[in-house]
C-alpha cells in the first residue's frame, strides 16, 4: 500500500512538471482571444480542454487502476456456467458504453461542422469516431472471447453459429457503418467537400444506427443478457437488477474510467491532427 501511494505521488509530480512546460500561458503581448472563441464560447472551452492540466485525466488513471485491481480481486457471485468470467463485465460492457459516448460526441461535432463550416470540427468528428470504432472492436472481441467460454456448451457448435445474435449483429453493423465512414473519407481529395459529405453521412449513419442497437435488440430473444425472456428488455443488461451491489461498485467507476480514457486518447489524436493541419486552420 505504501509503495503504491509513493508511486502515485511520483506520478503526480512528474505529471505536473510535464504539464507546466506544455501549458501556453497568455503573455501581455499575445492576442487575448480569437474572434471565433468570442463568437462561440464552446471553442474557448475546447482550447482549454486540449491544453490545460486536466483533473479528469488523473481521475481516469485512478479509476482504471481501481477497476483492474478491484475487478480482479473483489469477490463476485459464483453463478453456474459464468463462474469467474463475470469479471469480464468490467471490460466488455464498458467498451460499449465508451464507444457509444464517443460516437455521440462525433455526431455532435458533425452537426457543428455543418452549422459553421470550421475545419477543426471535422477533425474532432473524425478522431472521436476513430477511437469509438476502435473501442467497438475491443468490445466485440472481448465479447467473442467471453461467448467462447460461456455460450459454447455443445462441442459441435461453432463460434460462428453462436455469434448470430441480434445484439451482436447490431454491434457488428455499427462497426461496418463506421468502417464505411472511413472509406468514404478516404475517397475524397478535396478537404472541404470531404468534411461536408462525411459529416452528412456521419449524421445519417448515427441516426440509422439507433434502431439496430437500441430498438431491435429489445424485441427479439437472445442468449445475451437483457433479452425479453429475462424480463429486462434492455440492449445490454440492466445494471440495477442484474448486478449485485458489490459488482455495481466496480462497474460504474469502470464505465467512467474507460470513457475518460477514450476521450483522452481522442483529444491526443485531435491535437496531433490540429498540429499537422496547422496551415489549413486559420481561425
Amino acid at each position: 500500500m505504501y509503495w503504491l501511494l509513493q508511486w502515485l505521488w511520483c506520478f503526480f509530480r512528474i505529471y505536473g512538471k510535464i504539464n507546466k512546460n506544455i501549458i501556453i500561458k497568455p503573455t501581455k503581448n499575445s492576442k487575448p482571444a480569437t474572434v471565433n472563441s468570442k463568437l462561440y464560447p464552446i471553442f474557448a472551452a475546447q482550447k482549454n480542454l486540449l491544453l490545460k492540466k486536466n483533473w479528469w485525466k488523473i481521475l481516469s488513471f485512478v479509476l482504471l487502476i481501481y477497476t483492474v485491481v478491484a475487478g480482479f480481486l473483489i469477490k463476485v457471485p459464483d453463478l453456474p456456467i459464468i463462474h469467474q468470467s463475470i469479471r469480464n463485465l468490467y471490460f466488455h460492457v464498458c467498451m460499449w458504453f465508451a464507444m457509444m459516448i464517443l460516437f455521440i460526441i462525433s455526431f455532435v461535432y458533425s452537426i457543428l461542422y455543418l452549422n459553421n463550416n470550421l475545419y477543426r470540427n471535422d477533425i474532432y468528428a473524425r478522431q472521436f469516431a476513430a477511437v469509438g470504432a476502435f473501442l467497438g472492436i475491443l468490445g466485440y472481441s472481448t465479447g467473442a472471447i467471453w461467448a467462447n467460454y460461456t455460450w459454447l456448451t455443445d462441442q459441435n457448435q461453432s463460434l460462428g453459429s453462436v455469434l448470430k445474435e441480434p445484439k451482436l449483429l447490431g454491434a457488428a453493423i455499427a462497426l461496418l457503418i463506421y468502417g464505411a465512414y472511413f472509406v468514404l473519407r478516404g475517397s475524397f481529395t478535396d478537404i472541404d467537400k470531404r468534411a461536408r459529405v462525411s459529416a452528412v453521412y456521419n449524421i445519417f449513419a448515427f441516426v440509422m444506427l439507433f434502431p439496430s442497437i437500441w430498438i431491435i435488440p429489445r424485441m427479439v430473444g437472445s442468449l445475451h443478457p437483457g433479452a425479453p425472456g429475462s424480463d429486462t428488455g434492455n440492449p445490454a443488461l440492466n445494471a440495477q437488477k442484474d448486478l449485485d451491489a458489490v459488482m455495481r461498485m466496480v462497474f460504474y467507476p469502470a464505465v467512467i474510467g474507460w470513457t475518460l480514457l477514450g476521450v483522452w486518447i481522442a483529444t491526443l489524436k485531435v491535437r496531433i491532427q490540429l498540429l499537422q493541419d496547422k496551415t489549413l486552420i486559420n481561425e
Binding site: G170, I173, S187, F188, K193, V197, F204, M208, M219
Partner: protein, 219 residues
C-alpha cells in the same frame, strides 16, 4: 412547391421513357439474375432460402436502379436545378421517382420469382404488400446514399459500401416480417409492430434526407 416537385418528377419520368435502354437494362438484370438462381438450384428452393434470396436480389436491383438517379445529372444540369428549385423539392422529387421505380422493379422480380422458382408463399397478397413496403424502404435509403456517393470519386462502388451496413437492420426486419406470409406463426401484435417500425424508419429516412440534402447540394 408541389408544382415544381411535379415538374421535376415529370422530367425524370420523361427521361426514362426517352432513354428506354437503362430501364430495360435493369429488367434484363433482374431476369438474368433470377434465371441464374433458377439454373443453380437442381430442385426448387425451400421457403427460407427463397425468402433470403429474394431480398438479397432486391438489394442488388435497388443499387443498380437507384444509383443512376444522381449520377446521371451532370454538373451543369445540377447548377440549373439549383437555380430553379429548392433542395427539399429536388430531393422529394427524386425520392418519389426512385420509390416508383423500385416498386415497379420489385413487382417485376416478384413475378419472375413466382414464375421460375415456383411459389412457396402461402399468402401471396400479403407478401406482395410486404415486397412493396420493402421496395419503398430500400429505395429511400439508397436515394440518399446515391446523393452522397455522387459527390465522391469512385461513386458506383461507394453506394454499396455505404448503403449495405445501413440497410442491414431494415433488411433483417423485412426478412423477418415476410416470414408471416410463409405461414410462420407470430406472437399477437408482432406483425403490426414490425411493420409500423419499418414505416417509422421510412419516415425517419425521409426526414433526414430533407434535412441533410441542402448541405450536400451546395458545391
Amino acid at each position: 412547391m408541389f408544382k415544381r416537385i411535379y415538374a421535376l418528377l415529370h422530367k425524370d419520368v420523361l427521361l426514362e421513357f426517352r432513354q428506354k435502354h437503362t430501364f430495360y437494362g435493369i429488367v434484363l438484370y433482374i431476369a438474368s439474375t433470377v434465371f441464374v438462381i433458377y439454373l443453380s438450384f437442381p430442385d426448387k428452393p425451400d421457403g427460407a432460402t427463397w425468402n433470403s434470396l429474394f431480398w438479397i436480389i432486391q438489394l442488388f436491383i435497388c443499387v443498380n436502379a437507384v444509383a443512376k438517379s444522381f449520377l446521371q445529372e451532370s454538373r451543369g444540369r445540377m447548377l440549373y436545378f439549383y437555380s430553379i428549385a429548392s433542395p427539399a423539392e429536388f430531393i422529394i422529387s427524386k425520392i418519389i421517382y426512385n420509390v416508383l421505380l423500385m416498386v415497379l422493379m420489385s413487382s417485376i422480380s416478384l413475378i419472375l420469382f413466382f414464375f421460375f422458382l415456383t411459389n412457396p408463399v402461402n399468402n401471396a397478397l400479403q407478401f406482395t404488400g410486404i415486397v412493396i413496403l420493402g421496395g419503398v424502404s430500400i429505395s429511400l435509403v439508397f436515394t440518399l446514399m446515391s446523393a452522397i456517393a455522387a459527390k465522391a470519386q469512385q461513386n458506383a462502388a461507394l453506394i454499396a459500401i455505404m448503403g449495405f451496413p445501413i440497410i442491414l437492420p431494415q433488411l433483417l426486419m423485412l426478412m423477418k416480417l415476410s416470414k408471416v406470409a410463409f405461414a410462420e406463426v407470430f406472437r399477437a401484435g408482432a406483425v403490426t409492430q414490425l411493420s409500423m417500425l419499418i414505416v417509422g424508419l421510412d419516415v425517419l429516412v425521409i426526414a433526414m434526407a430533407v434535412v441533410l440534402f441542402p448541405y450536400l447540394w451546395k458545391d
